[in-house]
């Protein structure tokens, strides 16, 4: 086996750390999760000179080793635990040439852990443009490190960086700051109590609430002749530490860096004058939002139709070319449509992440957070909740994952809990078919009633999210420090390579993460719809043939009747009948009941289930629609899908929590079953009540 070294990439957000990672590893990377938590773990392999291989881990971006979020905790936990299998042989700190001063703070902290460290100064192509010049040898001697000037945009400096990494044994491990300088007496006592430990390491353990190796905080507190200070005292010391570090950095940069402001150009000021403007800022944001909606609904319709018809014909082909039997049926009616149900969302999810990653890479997303924060705070949310709420219109799953950068736990939890109210793409097919059934085609002020209803449903979704956020904000008694610090990075042209990798990664994680659940459920559904306990199910062919013997049905009509009889007495059909009394007050019959039960797996199953139930051989929407329009309400008479039951059904789908994948993600992100169960119960009860009231009033 060839020699392999561990390399950790560390850096502030917005320094292009991930671009450096992509340049080093290319496609040789994989994304996983840290055990037990949902922080993304990116790792890859890079070949270094002289046959050395490097295992590179891209740690989450952080401003310092003083962690304030789950993502940042990962960094410090790894760096403090020498026994971790990923513990770096060498740390590569990535900085941005325009923000060197701030970026060096983290660098000095890493150095003080006595880990061999290489400093990458990225975006070197911007130096001339910004009038910056650096005295590299001087900086290297002051910071006691090796520096790689890199431009990932122009693909420069990467080979030099690889050489520096492979020579990691020559790197100095002298710390930048003497920890005793912060508070001599305190640190002298600490040294006496733990003579074998690194002082800065102890200090991090005391201030950070993390465990490392064998020493943890309780153990430090237990030492009799050493007392830890109060929280306020500790924070004062941390502030002092930060000031000391900046003194060191300022002294270093005074000689090592010169900035000629006369040649500097600043695009930022001009762009921000418009993009964060009190009126224009919002107008531009609205235009961008509309473009995203347009893309998600319109542009992705073509690939989606293609996927839909491909899976339908694949299913048909399987049915015809494999020998008849339970396996073929499971494959053709369970697994293939189930897979289709996952794959069909790929275009929308890819488009969504394409836009989000372009907006994030360019630096615009921070401006949106800035513009929206005050408005969102009224509802107990944060400016950072805007991104999840917008993403929620495609799918709640990636949206809930996007809440991770909200620092305040309360604001984050509320965002997670209300996001499923936004109208996700899975509701769309349900809305479309019911609207076309119950809403007349007339026009109002030049806008179609049907289009207006759809728009109204979107507004209801956002409204429900905001109002429930407001209520949760009042009800939840969670104390969490609500602080809000958002860096406003420079505007950058997004790198196509980075955007493409993000889109591919996120889409893959959706397909394999949520996909597994959807697939499993569609198999269960197939089983429940394909088997039944009694005579009526098992002898369906004979019963139906006998029943219609005198009516001279064509073969196809007869087959449809048999399928419909089977479904009625299958396990799922019996379930539908069992819940019928509960849903009758909402205006539904047992068939809609089945569709609702099966759409607890995923909403979009609704239309498919109804198509099967109404025994329509082909799945052309027009045909389903005609069958649905012809259904008669068994008790009240008249059409089953009338205005009252239609509105009731629309409202039920607008509010009910009908998505197992979302519940699974909420469980993962909140690390408890309490919140997803609460979400399921409250949203469903609310949906029921609203649907009930709507039907009873309108009938």
């Amino acid at each position: 086996m060839s020699k392999q070294i561990n390399v950790a990439l560390i850096g502030n957000p917005n320094t292009g750390k991930t671009s450096v990672f992509n340049s080093l590893t290319g496609l040789n990377q994989k994304v996983g999760n840290y055990p037990g938590i949902t922080v993304e773990k990116k790792e890859g392999i890079c070949k270094l000179p002289r046959g050395v291989k490097a295992h590179i881990i891209d740690l989450p971006g952080t401003y310092s080793l003083n962690a304030s979020s789950l993502d940042e905790n990962v960094v410090i936990e790894l760096l403090l635990n020498k026994n971790d299998k990923d513990f770096p042989d060498v740390a590569v700190v990535v900085s941005d040439v325009e923000n060197l001063k701030r970026n060096l703070l983290l660098f000095t902290q890493i150095k003080d852990l006595e880990i061999p460290t290489v400093l990458v100064i990225n975006m070197s192509d911007r130096m001339k443009y910004k009038g910056i010049s650096l005295d590299i040898p001087y900086l290297e001697s002051q910071l006691q490190t090796k520096i790689a000037l890199v431009s990932t945009r122009k693909n420069e400096g990467i080979d030099n960086l690889k050489t520096l990494i492979s020579n990691y044994k020559e790197l100095s491990i002298t710390p930048c700051l003497n920890a005793s300088e912060i508070d001599k007496e305190y640190f002298d006592n600490l040294r006496k109590a733990f003579p074998n430990q690194l002082l800065y390491k102890l200090w991090l353990v005391i201030t950070q609430d993390v465990n490392f190796g064998k020493t943890d905080r309780n153990e430090i507190d237990a030492v009799a002749d050493f007392k830890t200070k109060t929280k306020a005292d500790l924070k004062r010391l941390q502030q002092k530490e930060t000031i000391k570090r900046y003194q060191f950095i300022n002294n270093t940069l005074k000689k090592g860096q010169t900035i000629d402001l006369s040649t500097a150009k600043d695009l930022r000021i001009k762009l921000d004058r418009i993009l964060t403007h009190k009126i224009w800022g919002y107008a531009i944001f609205l235009v961008i939002l509309l473009t995203i909606f347009q893309a998600i609904y319109d542009w992705s319709a073509i690939p989606m139709d293609f996927i839909d018809s491909s899976f339908a014909s694949l299913s048909e082909w399987t049915k015809n070319s494999l020998p008849e039997g339970a396996f073929t049926s499971l494959l053709a009616e369970g697994i293939i449509p189930g897979l289709g149900g996952i794959v069909i969302f790929i275009p929308q999810i890819a488009f969504l992440f394409l836009f989000i990653s372009v907006l994030e890479e360019s630096g615009y997303m921070s401006r949106v957070v800035f513009l929206m924060d005050r408005g969102m705070r009224r509802f107990g949310l944060s400016g950072k909740s805007v991104v999840p709420l917008i993403s929620g219109t495609a799918c709640a799953i990636p949206a809930i994952m996007a809440t991770r950068n909200i620092e305040s736990w309360k604001e984050r939890l509320i965002t997670i809990l209300v996001t499923p109210f936004t109208t996700c793409s899975a509701r769309l097919p349900v809305y479309l078919i019911i609207i076309s059934l119950v809403i007349p085609e007339g026009r109002f002020l030049g806008l179609g009633y049907q289009a207006l209803t759809l728009m109204l449903l979107y507004l209801i979704g956002f409204g429900a999210a905001l109002i429930s956020a407001m209520i949760l904000n009042k009800v939840l008694k969670i104390k969490s420090k609500s602080f809000f610090v958002v860096e406003m990075p420079n505007y950058k042209l997004p790198l196509i390579k980075n955007v493409a990798l993000t889109v591919v990664e996120k889409t893959k994680s959706f397909v394999f993460g949520a996909g597994k659940i959807i697939l499993a459920i569609s198999i269960v559904l197939w089983f429940l719809a394909s088997y039944g306990p009694g005579e009526e199910f098992n002898n369906a062919e004979e019963i139906v043939t006998e029943k219609f013997a005198s009516k001279h049905l064509t073969e196809e009509e007869l087959q449809n009747e048999i399928a419909s009889q089977k479904l009625e007495y299958s396990f799922i059909g019996l379930t539908g009948r069992a819940i019928e009394p509960a849903i009758r007050p909402l205006g539904y019959d047992w068939k809609i009941g089945i569709a609702i039960v099966s759409s607890f797996a995923a909403r979009e199953v609704f239309v498919g289930t109804l198509a099967t139930i109404y025994s329509v051989g082909s799945d052309e929407e027009e045909t389903i629609k005609n069958r649905m329009a012809g259904e008669v309400n068994p008790i009240l008479g008249g059409p089953l899908f009338n205005f009252a039951s239609g509105i009731s059904l629309l409202l039920f789908y607008a509010f009910a929590m009908q998505c197992m994948s979302t519940l699974a993600i909420v469980k993962r992100e909140t690390n408890s079953w309490k919140w997803p169960i609460l979400q399921l119960v409250l949203m469903s009860v609310f949906a029921y009540v609203v649907a009930f009231i709507a039907f009873q009033i309108l009938i």
Binding site: R102, D373, R374, F483, F484, V485, E487, N490
Partner: protein, 77 residues
């Protein structure tokens, strides 16, 4: 004249005099919000909240509720 950062107007520059470290997240200190550093108000959202600042070359946005814990001395109009 010493006022809190919440009083800074657009385009004005000031020097940070004191920060009440108990009420300020450490992250903000680490981004350069420390006594002696220069601060400029770049842009404000409606109702002057949040505030888009340039502190010592770092551009960031904070809420007004945080800004009132930072004491500054305005240096130019």
């Amino acid at each position: 004249m010493q006022v809190t950062l919440a009083h800074l107007k657009r385009g004005e520059r000031a020097i940070i005099v004191d920060v009440s470290s108990i009420n300020i997240p450490l992250k903000l200190l680490e981004m350069g919000c420390l006594p002696g550093n220069e601060v400029e108000l770049v842009q404000v959202a409606p109702f002057s909240d949040p505030m888009y600042l340039n502190i010592n070359g770092t551009h960031l946005a904070i809420r007004k509720e945080t800004a009132i814990h930072i004491i500054i001395e305005i240096t130019n109009e």
